[in-house]
Symmetry: C2
Subunit: 626 residues, 2 copies
């Protein structure tokens, strides 16, 4: 989506021992695993946040995309890669075969004679990849349409169900704009959503390390983080580190947007160590193979790249097949023309050869490849607007219509599809994007970049875009591609990745709340009760970024004592709203509300009564409000 790869953080080195990733549980958290009913062997990770004993509240369970890295009982070895949790499920279906995969070519990593230092190949590459047996399809959609509930589907159901039972008690209200959020997510519900194309489970059969997750309008809103090296260079170590760092803070999928050297090896390191689906933009690597000259791209080179990446285990491909020759001139009058890198590559190819895009013409063949490995489509919006001025214009919507047409082609071959969306859009034009996408693309999941709601704040585009992302997520977008503070300016570093992820977790969660997602509100309520009770540590631990929350608090009141103090630095100990509220609560508890409206008689006496009760005495609230 956002064409921003990452900058190297670690020193350029060939010493694998220097590869580091952040591991260990988040504060006050432990990972536990839930098993399935239909598939008892699946182990669905859940993060449980422990609260202070004084709260008398149970731990809060939250969705956990962090993978084994936050599980102390797992020995992490980057050079070995993660355990292959899905291997047995894939084998058990009996519809795949191992074969001699495509041999790695020098140009897979670089067109240059000499390899860049510090990028050793992954030591344990699977020699013989999997593919569908001749005549069979291995996509989740294929199984779903045949009524099969796969382990992946039950896994997703359990994952999405967090807190649902508890939430059933309280009606959530919410405005879903047509979304149909179930009270409880059953494996059958997941199957049905995947079968009708309203949700996807991006799981390449050659990425058995992935912990299945769903992207769909009737599930929790997901977020994607972009990483990847660039021409400016970045080493493998920092990319793997950045991937682990991104999921630690909540990224649900990661896109490897590498555009420089060592693309093949970098991707291998990332895939083998990633518990989340990995997406790519294959045209980027194809372009590198022809020395960056778009006109020299051919279907053969692109096709070979798709197979190369499918064999490695990429879970979804961004394919800009909607950039048709006839649409290109529509962008000429734009303020910022074509800003999608993939879109502009294809536009240039189309103009140079004055031919229709080979991605469009060969799309059925591309589907065949994807169906053989279960690579999901992320149909790219190559003509997305790059400025407020260009939002919702002719070329953008012409492409969207074509993406809907291609969705049908992919579905005919049981391929899973999501649709990429803008970009830069003022608030008043956001909903039209969602409504048109639902209509033109037959409810295939929408996957948007932002959108940015103004162009005047470079350096803060994680915020200009979070405003738009929260809204389009509320309207029905299934996954939000993060934007970092460096958007438009430079390459995000590790800190930018974290800020981008946290910001987008906020947007996605705000959307879940507004949609009335049954379980979404539980975490807000738990944190709000902790806030009211002055359980500072619980506030930190329940927050999206406990470290930052505690650090900000300690800047004013560093003392350990302050973390149990029944006041905060805003009002100080002398006066406190929360404290007074407790007085109100104690008072009202004993008060017959009818008497409130009574006449002046007895008021003095009531007043006395209140004073006797000792308005100043603080009794912490204990019972949850729901």
């Amino acid at each position: 989506m956002a064409d921003i790869p990452a900058r190297t953080e670690l020193p350029d080195t060939s010493d694998i021992s220097e590869m580091k990733v952040t591991t260990g549980p988040l504060p006050a958290s432990r990972k536990l695993y839930l098993s399935g009913r239909q598939h008892p062997d699946i182990r669905v990770p859940v993060r449980e946040i422990q609260l202070e004993k004084t709260s008398l509240e149970p731990p809060v369970r939250v969705y956990d995309p962090t993978g084994p890295y936050t599980d102390d009982s797992v020995d992490i070895d980057i050079t070995r890669g993660l355990a292959t949790v899905r291997a047995a499920w894939i084998e058990a279906r009996g519809d795949v075969e191992r074969y001699d995969g495509r041999a790695v070519k020098p140009e897979d990593n670089s067109v240059k004679p000499t390899r860049k230092s510090g990028t050793l190949p992954f030591p344990n590459v699977v020699q013989r990849p999997l593919r569908a047996k001749s005549g069979s399809k291995v996509t989740q959609m294929h199984y779903a349409r045949r009524g099969i509930v796969t382990p992946e589907m039950e896994y997703v159901a359990i994952r999405e169900n967090l807190g649902r039972e508890k939430a059933m008690e309280a009606s959530q209200g919410g405005e879903g704009f047509g979304a149909q959020l179930p009270g409880l997510v059953t494996p059958e519900f997941v199957r049905d959503e995947v079968a009708r194309g309203r949700a996807i489970i991006p799981v390449n059969i050659n990425h058995p390390e992935v912990e299945p997750m769903a992207i769909g309008r009737n599930f929790l809103v997901k977020i994607n983080a972009n990483i990847g090296n660039s021409a400016v260079a970045s080493d493998v170590a920092s990319e793997v580190d950045k991937m682990v760092w991104a999921i630690r803070w909540g990224a649900d999928t990661v896109m490897d947007l590498s555009t420089g050297e060592n693309i093949h090896d970098t991707r291998e390191w990332i895939l083998r160590n990633s518990p989340v689906p990995i997406g790519t933009v294959p045209i980027y690597q194809a372009l590198e193979k022809v020395g960056g000259v778009a006109e020299d791209l051919t279907w053969e080179i692109f096709r070979d790249t798709l197979i190369e990446q499918a064999e490695q285990g990429v879970d979804y491909f961004t394919i800009h097949a909607g950039v048709r020759l006839a649409y290109v001139p529509m962008t000429a009058k734009r303020v910022t023309g074509i800003v999608s890198r993939g879109g502009s590559i294809m536009a240039k190819w189309c103009l140079s050869h004055h031919k229709e895009s080979f991605l469009y013409e060969r799309f059925a063949e591309i589907c065949e490849i994807c169906a053989a490995y279960d690579v999901s489509f992320s149909l790219g919006d190559g003509l997305r607007p790059g400025s407020i001025a260009d939002a919702n214009d002719e070329s953008q919507f012409a492409e969207l219509k074509t993406l809907g047409e291609l969705t049908k082609v992919a579905w005919d071959q049981d391929c899973q599809v999501m649709i990429e969306g803008p970009g830069h859009v003022p608030m008043n034009k956001i909903k039209e994007n969602m409504d048109l996408q639902l209509e033109e693309c037959h409810e295939a999941p929408f996957y948007t970049l932002g959108p940015l709601t103004t162009d005047i704040a470079p350096g803060y585009d994680h915020i200009t875009s979070a405003i738009g992302a929260a809204q389009i997520g509320w309207y029905g977008t299934a996954m939000l591609c993060y934007v970092t503070p460096k958007e438009h300016l430079g390459l995000p570093d590790r800190d930018d990745v974290k800020v981008g992820v946290i910001t987008y977790k906020i947007a996605a969660h705000a959307a879940d709340l507004a949609k009335g997602h049954p379980g979404a509100k539980l975490r807000d309520d738990a944190l709000s009760r902790a806030r009211f009770d002055f359980r500072w540590r619980d506030q930190f631990n329940l927050s999206l970024d406990p470290e930052t929350a505690m650090q900000y608090h300690d800047q004013t009141l560093p003392a350990e004592g302050a973390k149990v103090a029944h006041f905060c630095s805003m009002c100080g100990p002398k006066f406190c709203s929360m404290k007074i509220t407790q007085d109100v609560r104690d008072y009202a508890a004993r008060l017959n509300t009818d008497e409130m409206t009574a006449n002046e008689q007895g008021m003095a006496e009531m007043s006395e009564k209140f004073k006797e009760e000792g308005g100043e005495i603080y009794l912490p609230a204990t019972e949850p409000a729901e």
Copy 2:
């Protein structure tokens, strides 16, 4: 609004010479002044951002609340205060008189015997303040209702009109939800909006330093920044510095929420040096005067505090007169009870005495005081929700209805009124707040804190709230009270103030764009053209925070050359979307669009033609798109 005062930055000192504020123009900017037609003597500040010569574009004019601090021709002396731009206008109306003002009492600054060091009184206090002559009212609403267009009104009209003429060319579209944005803002339009109470111009006759601005649904969305010292203490120097710092980045008004010692002196320093309206919450100081014991508050102490602050020149008072005795028990079942400091003070008073709020019962008398100095009301939402769980509940809306009732009372005395709003509200419940406020409060301007759209991200509440602020601003809120990253955790420092202001400028501008404000889009378009042309310096200079934008860019490409390079660090020099778009543009310019759809005949030839034209040659775009 947000009850967060500021933390001291400068060393605690009594040496006035150590008082520092940030002065000087913003990058590539110069301040110019526009004069009036009806009132030729008014000088309305405008900030003009110069673009690079290669752009062949005129400078971009933007709204400028920064005051004389960004005017190099003005000699700033904090101990003397700013020039009294409004003095002559006020005198000319002949309806005010000077009188021996209230004498400063020790308790105005502290109940403690010893004064805190480092807080000298302002050296040049006006000894005899102004008030309305007996029988006359001096509010802008009073003049407006009598058909008088004051200099303040024409000042506002010129200020709001930036770029309007140019914008008239292009239709902006937009969804205003009933807002009636004029093509051009005339002084008469301003008068009419003020007369009907749909906009306010907060300008105390004792604050002649203020540069008039309007708060209303049919004007640009404004933002407020909170400063003020606290029990934890902060010195005068840092508060003045923080005020200047806040307006430098775009704050339209500033609230002094001081709650500790030296409240009177701190406010004097701030008022005499502030070109923007200053708001306060008088009950905070009144509470200090009774040693922090809410029950000991009396009407007499409060009334005396109102006069004290009115004489100093406070432009608007937050008065929590809507917290009625009968509403207090409604909050008992809340998750976070009463979170407004002013609201909880009054709740405690009501319960202790079991009497109706004296603010409510004495409201007409309060109006008399405000009418005599033209202090605008910001009717406080003392029962605003402090969590997602408590949003839009019975007590909140009961208070809102009462605020509407009080609005009528104030209007009967020609007092200007705005209404404060929440708080913590999920997206699906935001619009109901706006719709009810318009209905219950007769279109008086709405002034909201956020709202925060989720509770789970302490440390990032500037973002959780900007999401809600942008939306409620779009729906019709006139002013947005900023939230800093320290909300709920601690006291914002200088950096937090800047981040809060920039974040809220983004929310306000996104709202203006969505409402279809005629001039709002000009800056976005100018920056987008600069982005397309790779005019890096113009991108930085047109952004809300040029320093941060350039710093982020330079982290990747520090070289001066990179600032004129026709590529960026995201793709590098080899391949660039923008570059290709230019090829597309050159091509399409020569291409007969009909031919695009022509059959294969002549395509090879066209292809040749394109190559001859040399697709690689980059010709920078020059003409603006509109």
